[in-house]
């Protein structure tokens, strides 16, 4: 019994069917917009909106003669941002260290806990409900108490607050990612007589990556917020939170706003860093495929 040669009709079908599907993956198709044009199309509206809002802000604060302590002009904020740059960036650096430290501690514990829920059903059934409940608590309210636990002058007290804030979303999301697996994939691995460790490595962990990174993106912004709010409750003066507080108390609002601008830049930079790592870690994911080509 030898296989029959495919008829011409079959080959035609095969080709017409499958080359069409690949048309979208060929990349540089003549007539397609170039790189710059796509870039402008993607980011142009946001950039334009940013400029318009700033311009309106400047014009309206001038035209309506709004007091600086209510809302400073962008130009004033920019002026302080530049003249005070060494101070506020120095403060920003120390706040960032607190945020990063807490992020790493909280994130690591969260991932360890998520893996423990896979390994031991008792942890999953006994502790996960409490973790989900804890996630709904306003954890930032712990800040004064954490300052008390971990010596208010030590950055560790701020890291403690940040790590608790980071822990819950990362833990809950990663756990979901480890469990919300396509049952077909589990059957497949079972048919291959794979060990639980192999199932973890080949299916659960890759499946959890998108969940994990979504949580990290949320946690990156939360960690900066957490660090600054924890600083409001006391500690060394050379950090963003205390600086904003002191300047506001002295009615030096443009200074406070300049510090807030630094905090925002740090938050955005942190977020972008996570996005870049995410792209490296899972180029296969559906949300990132468009940039991949074929």
């Amino acid at each position: 019994m030898t296989p029959r040669d495919p008829t011409e009709r079959d080959v035609e079908l095969l080709e017409s069917h499958e080359t069409d599907i690949f048309a979208g993956f060929e990349g540089d198709i003549p007539g397609e917009p170039g790189r710059l044009e796509t870039w402008i199309r993607a980011y142009g509206p946001a950039a334009a909106a940013f400029v318009v809002v700033l311009a309106l802000w400047e014009i309206l604060t001038r035209a309506l003669d709004i007091e600086t302590f209510l809302l400073p002009k962008p130009s004033e904020i920019l002026d302080r941002f530049i003249t005070n740059a060494p101070i506020i960036w120095g403060h920003g650096f120390r706040t960032l260290v607190e945020a990063l430290g807490g992020f790493v501690i909280g994130g690591t514990l969260a991932v360890a806990m998520a893996f423990a829920t896979v390994r031991w059903a008792a942890i999953r059934e006994g502790l996960l409900p409490f973790a989900i409940a804890a996630n709904t608590m306003p954890i930032i309210a712990l800040a004064p108490i954490a300052n008390n636990w971990f010596n208010v002058t030590s950055p560790l007290s701020k890291m403690a607050v940040v790590s608790v804030i980071v822990f819950f979303p990362v833990m809950i999301n990663t756990t979901r990612g480890l469990f919300e697996v396509d049952p077909g994939e589990l059957d497949l691995l079972r048919s291959m007589a794979a060990t639980p460790r192999e199932v973890l490595r080949h299916v659960r962990i890759p499946n959890a990556l998108p969940y994990f990174f979504s949580a990290l993106k949320v946690a990156s912004t939360l960690s900066i917020i957490g660090a600054i709010v924890a600083e409001y409750f006391g500690g060394p003066q050379d950090v963003l939170g205390q600086y904003i507080l002191n300047r506001a108390n002295l009615f030096q609002f443009p200074d406070a706003w300049a510090a807030i601008l630094v905090a925002s830049i740090l938050g955005i930079a942190f977020y972008v860093l996570i996005v870049l790592v995410e792209r490296l870690a899972m180029p296969w994911h559906v949300s990132l495929r468009a940039t991949e080509g074929g």
């Binding site: 069917h17 499958e18 690949f22 077909g184 059957d187 079972r190 080949h202 890759p206 074929g294």
Partner: protein, 262 residues
């Protein structure tokens, strides 16, 4: 008997608890010889997929006995005696086509060079060698299903279990895939158990068609398909083919209305 790849004796399966139980299968007796191509056909709820999953040790029977390759199904699974293809290709998105085909070999602990060579061979068999470095989402549904077949055949299993593998494909692709599958079956000399609800598909592919009826699922008829090999477009237009399709259809209807129940 020694040449039987699958032996089922009085196999039954009940799902659920005492208060809420569904009898999916009752009294299944079946022998599948080496090299056969068996289709399980029947309406939804007749337990054909359940029977396949029992053979593959993805489920445990509630009654009776199953022997796969002379062993209990569990042992056959641990020995990697069978490859399985589901209705969905179930390819891992994070792996390339090649790495997907290599997955079972990797889990078996086959050395890297050997893995690469076998993946190459299997991808050539399903005519996808040039797509080895693509990711699954870049392939059409039919191509993805061919990757799944290559993966299932990678460790040269004695038994290939297929659960409506072409169910999600359009008619044209489906006929091509059936043709491909027959060619692969001929080349690899595997035994195939194939679940389908398409009568023409069952007749075109099989050496025997096992007709099942629902509530509870049981075998209502077994029909031999003596069509000559190789089968092709002409087979699909032959009188014998139509006659067998009619025969299977009538057996299905008899099973449905309860005639011929023992």
């Amino acid at each position: 008997m020694s040449d039987a790849v699958v032996v089922a004796r009085g196999v039954g399966k009940v799902f659920g608890t005492d208060t809420d139980r569904v009898e999916a299968l009752r009294g299944i007796d079946l022998q599948i010889a080496r090299g056969e191509f068996i289709s399980l056909i029947g309406p939804s709820g007749c337990g054909k997929s359940t029977l396949l999953r029992l053979i593959g040790d993805l489920l445990q029977p509630s009654a009776g006995e199953l022997v796969v390759n002379g062993k209990p199904p569990r042992q056959a699974r641990l020995d990697r005696d069978y490859g399985i293809v589901f209705q969905q290709p179930t390819l891992l998105d994070w792996r390339t086509v090649r790495a997907n085909v290599e997955l079972p070999l990797e889990i078996m602990g086959v050395a890297r060079e050997e893995r690469a060579a076998r993946a190459e061979e299997m991808l050539a068999l399903v005519q996808l060698a040039e797509f080895a470095d693509h990711h699954p989402w870049q392939l059409s549904g039919g191509m993805q299903q061919r990757v799944a077949i290559a993966r299932a055949l990678g460790f040269r299993p004695a038994l290939l279990l297929m659960d409506e593998p072409f169910g999600a494909l359009d008619e044209m692709t489906r006929e091509l895939m059936q043709q491909e599958l027959l060619r692969i079956w001929t080349e690899t000399e595997t035994t195939v158990v194939f679940v389908t609800h398409s009568i023409p598909e069952a007749v075109f592919l099989s050496t025997r068609v096992v007709v099942m009826s629902p509530r509870p699922g049981r075998i209502s008829a077994v029909i031999d398909v003596p069509l000559a090999h190789p089968r092709d477009v002409e087979t699909r237009e032959s009188d014998d083919y139509y006659r067998l399709i009619t025969e299977v259809r009538e057996a299905l209807r008899r099973g449905e209305t309860g005639e011929g129940r023992r």
